[in-house]
Symmetry: D3
Subunit: 197 residues, 6 copies
Amino acid sequence: MTPSAAAGAGDDRVITALELAPAALTPEMAAYFAKCDEKLGFVPNVLKAYAFDMPKLDAFVAMYNDLMLAPSGLSKLEREMIAVAVSAHNRCYYCLVAHGAAVRQLSGDPVLGELMVMNYRAARLSRRQRAMLDFAVKLSAEPWAVEEEDRARLRKAGFTDRDIWDIAAVAGFFNMSNRVASATDMRPNTVYHGQAR
Amino acid sequence: MTPSAAAGAGDDRVITALELAPAALTPEMAAYFAKCDEKLGFVPNVLKAYAFDMPKLDAFVAMYNDLMLAPSGLSKLEREMIAVAVSAHNRCYYCLVAHGAAVRQLSGDPVLGELMVMNYRAARLSRRQRAMLDFAVKLSAEPWAVEEEDRARLRKAGFTDRDIWDIAAVAGFFNMSNRVASATDMRPNTVYHGQAR
Amino acid sequence: MTPSAAAGAGDDRVITALELAPAALTPEMAAYFAKCDEKLGFVPNVLKAYAFDMPKLDAFVAMYNDLMLAPSGLSKLEREMIAVAVSAHNRCYYCLVAHGAAVRQLSGDPVLGELMVMNYRAARLSRRQRAMLDFAVKLSAEPWAVEEEDRARLRKAGFTDRDIWDIAAVAGFFNMSNRVASATDMRPNTVYHGQAR
Amino acid sequence: MTPSAAAGAGDDRVITALELAPAALTPEMAAYFAKCDEKLGFVPNVLKAYAFDMPKLDAFVAMYNDLMLAPSGLSKLEREMIAVAVSAHNRCYYCLVAHGAAVRQLSGDPVLGELMVMNYRAARLSRRQRAMLDFAVKLSAEPWAVEEEDRARLRKAGFTDRDIWDIAAVAGFFNMSNRVASATDMRPNTVYHGQAR
Amino acid sequence: MTPSAAAGAGDDRVITALELAPAALTPEMAAYFAKCDEKLGFVPNVLKAYAFDMPKLDAFVAMYNDLMLAPSGLSKLEREMIAVAVSAHNRCYYCLVAHGAAVRQLSGDPVLGELMVMNYRAARLSRRQRAMLDFAVKLSAEPWAVEEEDRARLRKAGFTDRDIWDIAAVAGFFNMSNRVASATDMRPNTVYHGQAR
Amino acid sequence: MTPSAAAGAGDDRVITALELAPAALTPEMAAYFAKCDEKLGFVPNVLKAYAFDMPKLDAFVAMYNDLMLAPSGLSKLEREMIAVAVSAHNRCYYCLVAHGAAVRQLSGDPVLGELMVMNYRAARLSRRQRAMLDFAVKLSAEPWAVEEEDRARLRKAGFTDRDIWDIAAVAGFFNMSNRVASATDMRPNTVYHGQAR
């Protein structure tokens, strides 16, 4: 590895810029970490970052898993597309790396992952998905200006009121996570970079 | 009440612009709602808004209560000050009404609540509290530009790394809630307006 | 009063951050101050702030009273709504406090005052009043982009050319006052906070 | 004159996009218009634009003349430099033409007028004048962020508290006038363009 | 000349803030400089600024002359209008002075030159020219948001695909030149100021 | 390939949204295309996009090759880092794909390429490279505000005046190319995506 390589890679053991001693995992959380390791081959750094305090980690995991994995009118890929388009608006390194990989994997389309990271407007999307991302990004950029006509546009593109909630909730969640990650300089697991290219 | 009065007040039974049928409360959540009603005299509308789906409501309540009520180096008032300063940046009507009231109540200073809503820079704050709000608002406005020197400023103002996490987490949380509220046109309980004036 | 209370309230005798010795009031202005005191119970701090120089105070009072009180196709409440929506755009503490109180009083609707301060887009307004505020706020945010189609929208909402002048003049005036107040850290009379809640 | 020439010049009799019938000038105002005509060779269009209503015209003239011509720690040229730098921020065609000409005339430096119109940061200014314009333009761009350290910078550059008021008042005034001019599409007298080149 | 005059005019021998020794002109470039001097009466400072390195100067001149002078569906005046409207967006002193003069000369309309510098939206333009400038300025302000509907608007205003390329290429070129000029504090030849007034 | 895959990939034969018939390549340009094909395995689409007109293609190639390949105080990698950081500011899909690959290749550090695309502030850079990118991105975002103190920061980080020119010229060039690419919806060669991962 050349000297400049070190510039990008960083040290994989450093997860945030904050020194917070890890707490003891509860048995349930230890099992969850083991399951991550088994399924993914690693524990996502965001979980390790929250692991200094079990109630905070529990709350984060519960909300994350409900939003991204529970039944919804939005497919899992669509939820990940929102995650990346919002994180691109906020230029969040952690979330772009981790969820960009998820878009590549869920879509089987490495280029789609890059498009979400770089400029979702350049992607060839269905009218439905374009309306979904336009809403999510407007909600990120100027939430004060989101009004009934924005919701009407989603309904016209085929979304139900429940779907609108889910779009808002996923976009909202990443507007939170992007800021926690940026505030703490959270670093993604290096393994994401090579996935599903 | 004059006709123009209706312009402001709206209909207190309408909570969001989305039609989402309420789910049956779990016994634990029913008890929690009853406790709210007993302590506050009402159930905050945000809880009713989430009540179409119990796992989402559970996750929201767990995260909210941990962030705003659990032990922290930040006082409860400081956490509410962050909530309002962030919500003012995002011009979120629901959160400004509900948390503006909380600042007035916790501080016993009605003017402080107004200052957080209108422009926190105009308040006579301690150096600590000013640094806290500057960080929270920069994190809201341009999260991509928050860096080590921003964390250093917090440390210099006396905050620990754990405090920095808490500032980031509260600011992040309201960047989420502001967007869910704006996306759904969530309306605050009218009763907040007159509290602690 | 708790220590934090002092943070909000400040010292009611300090009106601006500038040390400018008051000039002798002209007899006409002394009468006007007396009339304010009689009618309102106090002299608005903005008048005291200008009172270091009689010609400046005269010019300010003449323009203010013409704009806000003279006959117009806009009601006095509508002119105050513009004042607050513009001041919210500019996050001017002085004007939000003083004119927020005026909206509450003139409308008899305390919630309407809060909505103007927090986000006028969340209010349930008539099409006429919404068009009026959209014009005033666009004129505040990006005056260079106001064009014939913006005037056409006002005409379509029922405004005459004279009304358009008045909307522009009131919005313009508060874009001036907001800046004089912010530049000098002008503090509103504390009494406004509790009015018409 | 080529057809494209008409694109720029417009019709010199049209002063704004609003149809407002001129009111009868008061004798004092008629005398003032006559004096303008005698001294300048024309009546500035802004005066004709306000002439549909004598109290509005009186108030405008009184405030304008006090701000721009009364004794002040700022020279008349400095006040015009503020006028143009603020109007450039707001891209106000009327004010840039009329006050750009004033800077050229008062300074005897045609290039200085162009610099104020195009980008005041490119001018070779004294530290005093640069501080003055930085304050005026920040006050125009983000009035909510002007604070004690901005006033301190002016004091350090040699300005008194009274001077600070005057800088704020002139900058504020043009933030008003720019908006009235843009809202009404006010057109400057063509004669300004060739003056003091 | 008064002292303040020096503020504007600067020293005509200083071309940029960078000290870069001029290279020997190639015979072709020497001939080109001679031709400029003969036709214009001077060598534009941008050419002298690039003259520290012949390949860079060659590349700049080749691209500039092709874009601004080669056959195109856009007239030379239209290309200069784009140059000035883009440079106004970027507030580039060098380009506004040099190309503002070009608009005045090519149009025979001194006012049109001022309008392009101050706010192109205030000019009375044909629908074609307005669409052209709206595209060029949007492309300057938020290139990420330019999409098919923007191109469609140009086609509807009568532009061919080749014309669209040319609008984009000229707008792009001045987004480059504006930045090279601002980065180096490039100063225009003083003679431009008085041309074609 | 799943249906969503098509969303990302598009059709590799479509290069821009404009229909511009290719011109006959000059013998020199035909040789250059052949050399690209031999060295890279493909002809970059930007060259094909310009190939409707030989003088434009010649000028683009001459300027590009001089800027990115000629001797300079900036390494080739550093010039590519500027290209990507500027293109990330402008969210240009074409340039991020093509030059992101170049950063990965030249650095041998796939993560560095991602950091430049996502948020260069998150990279662990030398003080020199950080100063270089801060200048390039400020020059992209607000060229009107770049002044002597910005150049001073570069000099303090070790850059010569010639280096400053090169930073400005590369940043300027990509501010041009980003806009030509966005205006025409230019699509990168698909092969870039998998390179040097």
